[in-house]
């Protein structure tokens, strides 16, 4: 990948990699906050969560030990307060029983009070025990393990975070980066002050992670996004064979539409994990600038990338959307205006050449072809925003939130086909070619 550091600066070559797969087990205290902390750590580090055990876990000692043995973790992250010390010590005993003979042995990363750490370290024998003072230190340590000790490698997660930061700095607003690859899905929110909330979910993607999307979302949830009827069995076969298919962009329109369907659910489920970990989903949905990268950014048409984003993320405000394919430059593709209203509302679009008004009815979804700086104001829901629309123009999305699709195929398929057609994502008659 080529990274440009500015218009005049020389271009530097960087080795970008997904990093090696890292299996982590999470042992946490009884408090909900503790569970969220370890979940955030795992999401931020791009590690695969293979086991979660709470201090008050109902499983017996033997069952907990067996679960940890079966998980074969590379790293065990423990977090808890002083009052969790006894319970965490018990879990470490279960870890000793379960993984004491594992080779290589799992390492224990602890984010606990300094007063508790020495006692837990004793109980973690014979595992390598490392105590960290802050969460970012653990995240960095976990990423270091994913790099396999090669400091020259830049992890894709770090690059996505840099991109989100750069967009936030350039725009002077919060920015969200959405990245979907063969086996990972990332959501990174960068705030104006430089703070970043990142979630990198593995395995959840469009190739190696496609079957996990179906397992998590259910087959019907993937199928509902396809604008033609398809047998569940046939769809499942396509999904299961994706990990063994040739990597690269989909060759025909049905393959593109299946990839779009999987990407929507991958993003939606990444958001659920983000919410579960206590990260700010509302801020992600209302980010004024959104960057799409990875496989979704490499879809043949920019309308396809935009449609995946609005269906999967369900933005809640006025957002300017960019997309940056892996082998290409970032481009502004459109502006999304999300309108949640039960009655008709008026939208006022102001640009340098003048002002125009339009009526927005609930359920409407379509593009307004404007390629300039615009101010948006909608009466009723009180949506306001400013941005620059891209090649597609302004997408007015009044389908409501949360987005619900009709249950019956007879109603759902025409609606989904309409949405695809509105963004030029398929042929105008809604059929797949």
């Amino acid at each position: 990948m080529t990274v440009s550091t500015g218009t005049e600066a020389p271009v530097e070559e960087t080795r970008v990699a997904l990093g090696r797969s890292l299996r982590v087990a999470l042992l946490h205290g009884r408090e909900e906050a503790s569970r969220r902390v370890v979940a955030q750590l795992a999401l931020a580090s791009g590690a695969e969560i293979v086991a979660r055990v709470r201090a008050t876990d109902r499983r017996s000692f033997v069952e907990a030990a067996q679960a940890l043995r079966d998980a074969r973790p590379d790293v065990v992250v423990i977090q808890g307060g002083a009052k969790d010390e006894a319970a965490l010590a018990e879990l470490l005993e279960a870890l000793r029983l379960g993984c004491g003979t594992q080779r290589p042995m799992p390492r224990v990363f602890a984010l606990v009070d300094t007063s508790v750490a020495p006692a837990l370290q004793v109980r973690a024998d014979p595992f390598e025990f490392e105590h960290f003072a802050t969460a970012p230190e653990i995240v960095e340590a976990l990423r270091g393990l994913r790099r396999g000790g090669n400091e020259d490698v830049v992890l894709r997660d770090a690059l996505i975070e840099d991109a989100a930061r750069a967009l936030a700095t350039t725009n002077g607003t919060a920015a969200l980066a959405v990245d979907v690859t063969e086996r990972s899905t990332s959501l990174v929110l960068a705030r104006r002050d430089g703070r970043v909330e990142a979630a990198h979910l593995v395995p959840l993607g469009l190739g190696m992670g496609a079957d996990h999307v179906v397992v998590r979302a259910s087959l019907d949830h993937v199928r509902r996004w396809l604008p033609w009827p398809i047998d569940s069995t046939a769809l499942l076969e396509r999904v299961f064979n994706r990990p063994r298919g040739a990597e690269g962009l989909p060759a025909d329109e049905p393959a593109v539409l299946l990839e779009m369907a999987l990407a929507r659910e991958a993003i939606a489920h990444a958001l659920r994990d983000v919410a579960d970990a206590g990260l700010d989903v509302a801020a992600m949905r209302s980010a004024p600038a959104i960057l799409i990268t990875g496989r979704v950014a490499s879809l043949p048409k920019s309308g396809q990338s935009l449609l995946v984003l609005v269906d999967g993320l369900e933005p809640s405000a006025v957002s300017t959307v960019f997309r940056e394919p892996d082998e290409g430059r970032a481009e502004r593709i459109g502006m999304v205006v999300s309108v949640v209203t039960r009655r008709s509302a008026k939208i006022r679009i102001t640009r340098a050449s003048g002002r125009s008004m339009a009526q927005v009815t609930p359920g409407s979804f379509g593009l307004v072809a404007i390629g300039a700086d615009v101010d948006i104001a909608i009466n009723g829901p009180g949506v306001r925003g400013h941005g620059r629309s891209g090649e597609l123009g302004v997408l007015i999305d009044a389908r409501g939130r949360p987005l619900s699709l009709p249950e019956r195929d007879g109603e759902r398929i025409p609606a989904v086909a309409r949405w695809h057609t509105a963004l030029h994502a398929i042929a105008a008659d809604g059929s797949s070619t």
Partner: protein, 335 residues
């Protein structure tokens, strides 16, 4: 995906509660028990070093029972002193499972027993409470994904050609303990019927994922689902759905039929224990062989290593007709 004969290693993870296991250097054959142990229920923690007034590091010296041993209720686990003796006894019958850093003892009641069998002919190269690893030479076919527990048995062709699907009617109890090659596809019906008939495992080019979900649950993925419980064993060679086997894959099946085989589900590999040179020997056309003598006819004549048990009264049918049970077939009522 090709057949390769070379030295392989297969690891066998062990559940908690191992009682005995094969030692490093021991020779084993596929199907041999290499580890046995107890299934344990909720463990009870018993105060050890503190009760005896010892430091945790000294408890080991005073233990009267080795960790991992079965104990009866009231058994003295550790004891110190003579005139004013202090002791720790087992409050329940079970297994002395674990000693904590604090010097406490965990005792768990035994609710069941388990065994783990080898999937390779060879030598134990690693053995500990979590894993037994075996290294040995065998023909091997690397599959795409495998589901269920490891399986062992005689390799048997169940189809007439590489493009054929295995029909449920070709499965009956006479194939008990065999590993059946199912051609291009095995359906959920075949998988469940084969399991009910005691078939050890199924090997096929493709397996419909919808069928896998029916058998193994909705959480099943394309990367396989190795397990230890009593479930069917399926090795999916090429992909999902229906996948005709290439001649380079199918023809050696014909040559190796009748040999002992094992499916190692964690690595999605089929091991076949035969010295037959499937790469050079001309293999009979499957169509011809099936019309002539049925599955067992695939074993090349004069192959010394085909270690089938000739005395086995449950020998599979030698003709295609016998492989297809009828409603009046008394053996089919055994299901």
């Amino acid at each position: 995906m090709t057949w390769r004969r070379e030295r392989w290693s297969a690891d066998h993870s062990l559940p908690i509660g191992v009682t005995q296991r094969a030692q490093v250097g021991e020779l084993v054959r596929a199907g041999d028990i290499i580890a046995a142990g107890a299934t344990l229920a909720g463990a009870m923690r018993v105060s050890g070093a503190r009760r005896l007034g010892l430091s945790p590091s000294d408890l080991d010296r005073e233990l009267r029972v080795r960790v991992g041993s079965d104990v009866a209720a009231g058994t003295v686990l550790a004891r110190v002193g003579r005139r004013f003796a202090r002791s720790v006894t087992a409050p329940i019958a079970g297994r002395l499972l674990h000693v904590t850093v604090d010097g406490d003892l965990y005792i768990a009641p035994i609710v069941d027993r388990w065994t783990v069998r080898a999937t390779l002919d060879g030598v134990v190269s690693r053995s500990d409470d979590a894993m037994v690893e075996i290294e040995g030479e065998a023909w091997c076919l690397q599959g795409a994904a495998a589901y269920g527990p490891n399986a062992f048995g005689e390799l048997t062709l169940g189809v007439d050609g590489p493009t054929a699907d295995l029909a449920p009617t070709r499965i009956d109890v006479r194939l008990r303990g065999r590993i059946i090659v199912g051609g291009a596809r095995v359906s959920a019906e075949v998988i469940t019927r084969a399991h009910a008939c005691g078939v050890a495992g199924l090997v096929a080019g493709g397996v419909p994922p919808a069928g896998l979900r029916v058998v193994y649950g909705d959480a099943v993925t394309a990367s396989g689902s190795p397990s230890r419980d009593d479930r069917p064993t399926v090795l999916c060679l090429m992909g999902f759905g229906s996948a005709a086997l290439p001649p380079a894959v199918y023809e050696p099946f014909a040559a190796l039929a009748g040999a002992r085989a094992a499916i190692h589900t964690a690595s999605a590999r089929l091991f076949v224990f035969s010295t037959a040179d499937v790469g050079r020997h001309p293999t009979p056309s499957p169509d011809v062989a099936v019309r002539g003598e049925g599955p067992a006819a695939y074993a090349p004549a004069g192959r010394a290593d085909t270690e089938t048990d000739e005395s086995d009264s449950d020998e599979p049918a030698q003709t295609e007709e016998e492989l297809t049970p009828s409603a009046s077939d008394p053996s089919s009522t055994e299901r």
